[in-house]
Symmetry: D2
Subunit: 295 residues, 4 copies
């Protein structure tokens, strides 16, 4: 049994806590919204009054927060967790944040004697509930080995991607490809349809040929081709356009720092920004086809 402090109890954090509890861990929870804590006490989580309380009890900390600024706020400064926690504590940040920011936090953690890992996830709320998330982990190997059994309570695939920040780097590299390929599918399917092909026939061919990809085969943006995908249910997410935009932005930030050339990634970011500005941020990211179809 490990004493775990868990900060950030949103759509992802809450089910992750439940899975930790199922494995008999003691979980001290904290969220800026008290109601979010209350909802988890039935399941056995222990609500904390403050970060300080969490720090007094926990030896492992997990953060699942909306932005790098939130994580920095929780961790750094005179009343941050890096100061409050016992040296030797393990700190796992599962938020999706900028690679640079993650690496900066690793350095600050090291100075405080904290063992840090960046461990963003894929799999969405479905994966969080089912305990089948993928954790892409960056940081020291010993830290990774310490964290692994805990992460296995919440995920099915726990991968060590190398040094500090590599977890975040992996996630944005994957999602850069994903975002572009979704637009590619939207363009190709729309072109075919406008040229007079029955979309179902086009799907049948392309999904078994070299156009095959996750965005086409598992999340086809044309409605009513696949039954259980967002496009067939008014684009209810799933992985929202706002979340895709967030990751694409992080990819472009990271590309700037290492002078990586991402012409299609840059364009994809512009298109998802446009989709979000048009008010479709809460739809699944396959809704980009609305823009391509100009509907």
């Amino acid at each position: 049994m490990t004493k775990i402090g868990f900060i950030g109890l949103g759509h992802m954090g809450a089910p992750m806590v439940r899975n930790l509890l199922k494995h008999q861990h003691d979980v001290y929870i904290y969220d800026a919204v008290p109601a979010a804590m209350m909802a988890l006490t039935d399941a056995g989580a222990i609500p904390a009054q403050s970060l300080k309380t969490v720090a007094q009890h926990a030896e492992v900390f997990i953060t699942m927060l909306p932005s790098g600024e939130n994580v920095a706020e929780i961790c750094t400064g005179a009343s941050g967790l890096f100061k409050l926690a016992q040296p030797g504590s393990l700190f796992i940040d599962s938020s999706s944040i900028a690679v640079d920011k993650a690496r900066e936090l690793h350095q600050l953690a090291a100075r405080a004697g904290i063992q840090m890992l960046d461990a963003p996830v894929s799999g969405g709320t479905g994966g969080a509930e089912a305990g089948t998330l993928t954790f892409m982990v960056g940081g020291g190997e010993a830290h990774f080995n310490r964290a692994k059994p805990i992460l296995e309570c919440m995920g099915k695939k726990i991968v060590h991607m190398g040094a500090a920040g590599n977890g975040q780097a992996t996630k944005i590299s994957n999602n850069l490809i994903l975002g572009i390929s979704m637009i590619a599918v939207a363009e190709g399917m729309t072109l075919g349809k406008k040229l007079g092909i029955d979309p179902k026939k086009l799907f049948e061919i392309c999904s078994n040929a070299s156009a095959q990809c996750w965005s086409l085969n598992n999340n086809c943006p044309v409605p009513d081709i696949l039954p259980n995908v967002p496009s067939s249910h008014d684009y209810q997410a799933g992985f929202t356009s706002a979340m895709m935009l967030k990751d694409l932005k992080l990819s472009q930030l990271a590309a700037q720092t290492v002078s990586a050339v991402t012409p299609l990634g840059a364009e994809a970011t512009a298109l998802y920004t446009l989709l979000n500005n048009l008010g479709h941020g809460s739809l699944d990211f396959s809704a980009i086809i609305k823009l391509i179809e100009a509907k």
Copy 2:
């Protein structure tokens, strides 16, 4: 046994003829290059002095030519096959040509009483030799049924995509997605590498996650990750960058005619034009990573 006229004996046409011969068809062959004809006589093909000779003997015609202009030249005009062939003949164009041009040829064929199909292929020279090509076919259903047993001598998958031109439309829709996704993979893998991730580890994750696609899983542009792909053999094609550029250009032409919006397709076309202008047209299309990596 069907008497087949086959025009265009290049890298694709020659092995296709061999497969027709294996199925005991009589194949009358014609090519502007006499040596190309000679190379097939051993296998039993009957070289023709002229298109006129081909037309006198054949009841089914197959063309496999580099461009729509070549096909039009062979088919139309006073001494073209549409004039020379018997009404009721079946005409199968397996060249990759513009959708509009294909539809124009269908109309001209109909006026001459010729049964026309557009039937471009995927599968490359490997598929042509093995007889495992995919034929994407546009045109009347009765014509399709008549052609099917013949196409099955050369291909494994023969799909009727609907009316005239839909075969061509299918191919470019598929390859539009393919070309974009290859660049997406090049961008994502290069970004990850520049951020410090071991490319093999990144491949392992992405190829099993939502970045999964044919370009990554079956033709990874980073060398020495997959053993039997062009990138691991100095980008020996495969499907060349020049061929990808040709198809992307056809996709952009078609998009113009139906006002389809293809922002990433347009950009992909520019990038493959650049790669070709830099002298890499004969390399596999996965060589686009050279541009992204700025090597």
Copy 3:
């Protein structure tokens, strides 16, 4: 006095005819729409029943038609003007058509003994009415010299750009730069505004600095900065988005034929296609800022 046949009496053609009449030329007019002819008889134009009638009287022909297909239809074939006109006639096509198509028409004209020029214009309906158009002319120098005094009745600037097709090539090269720079201005002004700068102040600086360009200084897409531009009058054209899209498409077609790389031109074409698909084709091309602002 020259006997001129004028085909195509739309928004541009009609005022051009009026200017020819003012210079005492005999103008035989023809249009598929009889009412378009009637509207010009008061001014002294002579309506023709058919192309044949035009051909019987005129020694110089001017076409001002919506597309290359229209021009080809009028000129080529058994009952086309190239057949009907006297050898030695001068033929000036002022339509905006594809460079390739223009060059093809030059060749057909030469075979028929017709002296051909491509001479597309800039200046819009305002320039057509005021007789201040710019003519960008491609074709033989002798032909150019013969045409010049006639074109000067309708334009202020008549420039010989070189061989066949160069008139069209000039127009699309100019408008490629124009279309891109308008989007650049829309992006820059929108970025500045969203960052909190008063658009009028930003305009004042940029229009006198290195961001200075025709799209900013003469057709600012932000309303109410310049008084007499389309953006300050609900984007009433001007040069419509549909016309800009047409020219951008022609530029992309031409780029394909000579393997020119136009990454921003390709993207600009996609964005204007989107704007047109959204129903804004009849607005001035500065309305692209609506898309960038996501309004």
Copy 4:
């Protein structure tokens, strides 16, 4: 006579100091590189041993540093200028830095009782030497009025763009338009040339028509059209590709923060990144035509 502290004595800073000295100001200079200070003592500048020394003497501070990180390092923290300087001092940052970073510095300055302005420049080293820079200034109006006479020693145009950060915002908005329009010119001129037009003729037309812009008329990227531009002198800068890339990156960062859509800006950033990665960062930014021409 004002006592001015000047930090950052590079290609821009050094001539700016000389111009301040010409106007009889006392200038206390500081640079991490001692030789940079020595070079200015002849002209009357007073070298300082440390920032502390500068702070003891000066009432107005000007920074001209390569990055926002450099400015933050000089200003903030326990031994930074914001701490060392007298409350009421005027602080003018003429570096080009991120809008967000500038706004953050304004806030920190205000807390320390320092009067802050962001005042990036345009005009390059030529303008710095001639004292003809343009200063785009953000910050309080009273501060602006205090700074104006000092800035007038170094520049010809001193413009108040509004609140904190607006100086930086103005510069990147302008340069976003500039970077895109340079690529537009490169694309249009290359397209025209490949289509067979004499570049000089094309320039003559376009520079007097709607393609007219600073990048074409004042910095034509095709060599030997304009005599005194970088392209006619092996692309010797001028404003380097590296500097253009820096500003484009800042524009993309800023666009992210306010959800501005910059599809062409994003693409321009990718193209300049590619140009820099290919080793052309020190050439004038008009050298982007090398990439477009694929030379």
